[in-house]
């Protein structure tokens, strides 16, 4: 087939895809990132997929009762996909809890084949790591799955690229527990995500803000609450008064010794 015709077909397919996506009820405002909290606790459909090694399987079997981390990319991405995956891989290596978590990278591009995904795996250096699964699935299934977690992908005709956010979903027992929307995955945030996925939980967390002198800091890496400068302020009363009391009574004793009561 000549190049022009191919390009036309691809564009038409892309356009069709884009309209399909757009028409699939309630198009999100692309100017704001997906709501991290909105889709939490959504039940993910158990879609069928083909792995990079050609195995037919499904989402549940990939998870295999383990917490699952899920991301969507496409192999022809010239934007965020590669840096995103690399940062995830690096953070993953630094993470304190590496065992017992399943990692799944799916392509939302109908053009991607299992072999393309295998290439991505090789590029990341995880092609022989059983904890990582790369795969493709049917376009309707991908659409159902991505909609559940708030992921979207629009074909941009001018750049011949998909427009999409970068996000990592933490899934537990088939339910979304946490979304991380970021182009760069850091070990701290990843650790938090995994903890939620495992089911570990803290009853409270500080919101990002400018508060200085907090009592405590939650360290996602160790999962512990550590003391911060503010705690020192809390100890000022005891130390000040202990010191003053000691000085006072020492002075009193001295006065008595010199007979000056």
């Amino acid at each position: 087939m000549c190049t022009r015709a191919r390009r036309l077909i691809v564009s038409a397919a892309g356009l069709l895809l884009a309209t399909q996506v757009a028409s699939a009820g309630g198009r999100q405002d692309r100017s704001i990132p997906p709501d991290q909290e909105r889709y939490v606790s959504a039940q993910l459909p158990n879609i069928a997929l083909t792995t990079s090694t050609g195995t037919a399987t499904d989402l549940q079997r990939v998870a295999n009762s383990r917490p699952l981390l899920l991301a969507f990319v496409f192999t022809r991405c010239t934007g965020v996909c590669s840096p995103f995956l690399m940062s995830w891989r690096t953070a993953d290596q630094q993470m304190s809890r590496r065992a017992g978590v399943a990692r799944l990278v799916l392509s939302f591009d109908p053009r991607d084949k299992p072999a393309d995904m295998a290439e991505v795996a090789r590029h990341l250096g995880v092609e022989s790591d059983p904890a990582w699964t790369f795969g493709v699935a049917a376009p309707e299934d991908i659409r159902r799955l991505t909609q559940t977690v708030g992921f979207w992908y629009d074909w941009d005709e001018s750049r011949q690229q998909f427009d999409h956010p970068a996000m990592l979903a933490a899934v537990r027992d088939g339910r979304l527990v946490r979304l991380l929307i970021t182009g760069t995955v850091t070990s701290g945030r990843l650790d938090e995500l995994v903890r939620e996925a495992i089911g570990e939980f803290i009853p409270s967390y500080p919101l990002p803000g400018r508060a200085r002198f907090r009592c405590f800091q939650y360290d996602a890496r160790s999962g512990r609450i550590t003391l911060d400068w503010g705690f020192g302020l809390l100890l000022i009363p005891v130390f000040t008064v202990s010191l003053s009391t000691a000085i006072m009574f020492a002075a009193g004793a001295r006065l008595r010794r010199t007979g000056q009561t």
Binding site: E37, R38, V40, P203, S204, Y205, A211
Partner: protein, 184 residues
Amino acid sequence: MVGTPFLVFLVSALLIICVFAGVAVSTRQPRHVEYARAQRLRGLFFLSLAAILVVFLVLTLPRLPYPVEAATSPGRIVHAVGKQYAWSLTDGTGPTLANWDTAFSPSITVPANTQVEFRVTTLDVNHGFSLYAPDGHLVAQTQAMPGYMNRLRVTFDRPGTYTVLCLEFCGMSHHRMRGVVEVR
């Protein structure tokens, strides 16, 4: 859950009153009190009190309200945001100060017999997030503190209209701050 503590209090209070009354009445007939006997009684009192306190520590410390059933995932997450003087209850992230008027929602519907996690925070001062059952009893509560997100897990076993009242004094309309959780 409030009946037992109140009963313990009433019984203790009555006991204290009886003891004090009895001791006061004893002064009508002055008698010699043996120091050693008093000390033995004190020892007995100490042991009894210590035993009671230990029993209550053992019974109550495992029942802390900080969600520890980590193994279960909540079936639903509700964002509760307090602001002088209303509670906003939403599924997604709650409103900010900037979009309060448009994004605020005074009520929400949640399913019964499902663990619901309330993510509680505030946009201004400290508030107290509390859930009152249709019959008026207090179901659960947590504080809403600026700069923090507190997570309260509740399973509503009975459908009905539950009210969110503010339980931390927050200003002149503190008593009018409310939200509604419909449990179906």
